[in-house]
Symmetry: C2
Subunit: 542 residues, 2 copies
């Protein structure tokens, strides 16, 4: 027997239709590659997205086809997202910060048929085009006036393509399990693998993202995601903002603190999201200029562990509440959110901060457990740590084309590759990536915690910790540090600073100063490169 | 091609499992029929719900079987909700305020196999038991000490049943489209018909209900639904509170203002929900006692139109924000929510109040349109009104057992039976029920608006307006009024009061004073009864 309720598949285009009908004039503000700030709204975005869908059908695209974008957070990128999914296509967002070889690899692997790209990437696309085997149409996301005079490519002009459509187009009805988007992992730990989001997973995730204990969106919210639309759904903000009718502010190609800051103030942004590195430069900018953050009330930070001092600075100096988010490409991306529960609110300031440094509690729709090396579940006591496994309707089942084989265990759990604790209040705390954790004499040392402690040291701009071979202990931690400009901090200064802040046996066996640290396309430390570089490093203790 | 995300059916027991794991100690407070206030929590509710499920299986119940409840808002009723759905059964909540004949009719129609009921209803159940054709087991929701000494029924004791289980029970995996709950319409306009909620519809609805612009729940919320668990899912609060980890406060059998008020204050309730009649007595109570509402910040009011003065009193006298909710049994029940959008917030106080008197905007997951008598869509201009049609994943597809036949039109729209306008900001305004609207000379008069205007008149406690036959105009409005105790307001007073507040041609042709008005089981005006009573009434203008 089935229930008596309507069959209404969860399709991504319903989000934009809802926004267009119920919040037609709510603004979508966008900085652009061309220069001007463009102000549009949910109705116009919907109307133009429909024309994108219509144009794609005109170009011969069919449901299931992968259509790629190589673009910043702009209204045109947004139109492409909805237009591609709305004609049944798969919006494959490519991260322009990947190496050329990686971009070529994933575009060919995905068999993308059309590529929409921003003016910033004309050179890049011209260079790699000869190696792109499946792309039939190159669409430049600009108007006629900004089209390059000549190009080695046969370029279509986005605005002309849109203008040529009459918009009389019905969104395509597909199964809610049909693919809607595609994103490759960022390659921090290996070759990128594709995660194929479904309409259903994106809509359910948007519901969850909108909840109070996650992003807390409403029709009154003015939200600016610095999380890029080319990676992991921009943390679902372009979907959740449409679901709730929030005003959406997009920073275009800009990533510098002064521009982002001006946009926050000018557009009355009250909520924004980004990875810690973005906030590091923002806080430095604010320190330098003495400026304030306008109407900003809340920030969500994730992608890497959030340093304690960042939470303190936001909350104490700027009155901006911080909540940490943990997620991954394979999770669409949200797994946990660190908004305070009543028990945490009742704590003293230091204990509250401790809780905020954890990655947060599972959102409804994400099941989590930690297991030991034999797969046995570990207690939720805040002490035991083990591999973090997840399950849920927006967790990957298998990578695109079966890459990596069967990635769920027999009970359907996905191994996140992270090592974590879970406490009695259900806050999850990432100890480390399983590939980065340092195995010293059978015990584990968290590289993340050492890094977070080290960046608090005066004179240190950035820090990374890796395990280096040791004859007695197997591995011991090596701290690799970038000094702040003009700083002259020494190894002894650093070790003295760390003393008392970390377990004594965690103390790095050596400190090395470098000019810069290697990063991935999503701004994370690239430890594989660092480990390669220090493969033969001989610790003074060895 | 399908997406690469996990298959994780949306099942109701996942809500309680989520709460038990992530918010184990968050309280569920409950007044009881026996007397004491019981304090339990989400983990205990889950553990005991599992035992309920186990007990039902022990009694021979199978997935798909209907299991009835006749109970107040209590922790035991909550355990039954989750326990029944969790073993694959259908939780059929029966409204104890229905007439005996109606209860007998729906229990037989549903073919309920087990009946859980509160001590308050022993007499009732004993009386109707001989006519209940399918119920095999009668379970009294109490402990051994409170079991009646003798009964014409072979009664099972709930606490004994629970205590006999070891709780080793796996929730039953069913299709997410499988039925989870059953509720009959309240019979305001006709014979009750069953709405068969699915697991999927309940979970999706809980997501929507939790959103900021609907109930805005979080782990910090303390929510008390006065909406009864025996009707329309108690507006989904028992599901949404589990989804978000809110503290849940249940008033048991109590409906009197002093008890509800004490509970709000004692338990730090910050959000609560009820129909207007409950709030009418609460406001009178507050006026009389001069008491305040503790930590209460927000109320959601729905089920009938919210009088303007109620919104004013809450907001101006008590600093409590009001949002109007419109819904119906067939909608699980939420359709719209009246939280202010930025355009409304920017209005002056009177215009803002006008907007708050409307029923609100469609929640994502509810499609709405208004149509004329030929089914042609009407403009969203705040003026044109017509039949309100809806669509969505928690809107009924057909009534239980096909009662009423095909209830969707060819395009899948469900006719709500309400007549409404939609304005440019997408606020929906109920003009009337299509059966209650007064057809005067080819034009429509809204009985609801006349009633809302009339209750503002000093000396009037309650008012109802019905159409009465008129030789020239077909129908003209008759105002039927209950005076406040000791008030001596006259027909002329009332008409003088209304003058200027309503269109002149809407002025009732007569005013009749009565001792009380007939109500339905959900506290609404029973206009069918009123029309019967005044069927041969001769208007002075006729
Ligand atoms: N708040 C956080 N604190 C600590 N680590 C985080 C946090 N949020 C995300 N991460 C880390 O980021 C990972 C997910 O990142 P993402 O999916 O962008 O790609 P990646 O894992 O960096 O790349 P790849 O999977 O290709 O190696 C998580 O598995 C976790 O290790
Ligand atoms: N905020 C509101 N303002 C005006 N009317 C409302 C509001 N909320 C609900 N209603 C009315 O209540 C109806 C839904 O009520 P419910 O499903 O409880 O049963 P009923 O319609 O009263 O009974 P029946 O369908 O058996 O005649 C709506 O169709 C609408 O007429
Ligand atoms: Mg990864
Ligand atoms: Mg009805």
């Amino acid at each position: 027997m089935l229930g008596g309720m309507q069959d209404w598949p969860l399709l991504v285009w319903r989000l934009i239709d809802h926004a267009a009908l119920n919040h037609p004039n709510r603004e979508v503000i966008s900085l652009t590659v061309e220069g001007p700030k463009v102000c549009t709204n949910w109705r116009e975005v919907r109307d133009r997205a429909r024309k994108v869908a219509q144009a794609l059908v005109g170009l011969g695209m069919k449901p299931g086809d992968r259509i790629a974008t190589l673009a910043w957070n702009t209204y045109r990128h947004l139109e492409c997202w909805y237009g591609i999914s709305g004609m049944g296509g798969v919006a494959h967002t490519i991260n322009p910060r990947l190496f050329e070889d990686q971009i070529v690899y994933i575009a060919n692997h995905a068999e993308d048929r059309v590529l929409f790209f921003d003016l910033s990437f004309v050179k890049l696309v011209e260079t790699i085009a000869p190696r792109l085997k499946t792309i039939e149409k190159f669409v430049l996301l600009t108007d006629r006036a900004h089209m390059p005079e000549s190009s080695s490519l046969d370029l279509l002009c986005y605005e002309e393509l849109v203008a040529a459509q009459d918009g009389k187009f019905d969104w395509v009805d597909v199964d809610e399990h049909a693919p809607s988007g595609l994103c490759y992992t960022s390659g921090t730990t290996g070759h990128p693998k594709g995660v194929l989001y479904s309409h259903r997973s994106n809509v359910l995730h948007a519901f969850a993202a909108s909840l109070n204990d996650v992003f807390g969106l409403s029709a009154q919210t003015v939200v600016m995601p610095f999380s890029p639309m080319y990676h992991a759904n921009a943390w679902s903000v372009p979907y959740a903002a449409a679901l709730t009718g929030a005003k959406l502010v997009l920073a275009g190609p800009h990533t510098d603190a002064p521009t982002l800051h001006k946009l926050i103030v000018d557009e009355d942004v009250d909520f924004t999201l980004a990875v810690p590195t973005v906030w590091l430069s923002m806080l430095q900018h604010l320190e330098k200029t003495g400026e304030h953050l306008g109407k900003l009330k809340r920030v969500a930070i994730g992608g890497s562990a959030v340093p304690r001092m960042m939470i303190e600075r936001f909350q104490n100096d700027h009155g901006v509440a911080v909540s940490q988010i943990w997620g991954m490409t394979e999770l669409s991306p949200i797994g946990t959110s660190g908004t305070p529960c009543p028990d945490v609110l009742a704590m003293g300031p230091e204990a509250k901060l401790d809780a905020q440094c954890k990655q947060g509690r599972a959102v409804f729709g994400v099941e989590m457990k930690i297991v030991d090396d034999n797969g046995a579940e570990l207690p939720r006591d805040g002490v035991a740590f083990g591999r973090l496994l997840v399950k849920g309707p927006w967790t990957v089942e298998q990578y695109f084309k079966g890459d990596g084989g069967q990635v769920l265990d027999a009970d359907g759990w996905f191994d996140t590759g992270d090592v974590a604790t879970l406490d009695a209040l259900s806050y999850m705390h990432i100890v480390d990536r399983s590939k980065d954790v340092i195995k010293s004499g059978g015990e584990w040392i968290s590289s993340i915690e050492l890094e977070n402690a080290a960046v608090g040291c005066p004179g240190i701009a950035e820090a990374a910790v890796i395990g280096v071979a040791h004859p007695k202990w197997d591995e011991r931690p090596l701290l690799v540090v970038v000094r702040k400009p003009d700083a002259s901090v020494t190894k002894d200064d650093v070790l003295a600073y760390l003393s008392g802040k970390i377990a004594k046996w965690w103390t790095p066996d050596d400190v090395v100063f470098v000019d810069e640290l290697p990063h991935t396309a999503t701004g994370k430390l690239l430890k594989t490169a660092l480990r390669d570089r220090f493969r033969d490093y001989r610790l003074p203790t060895a």
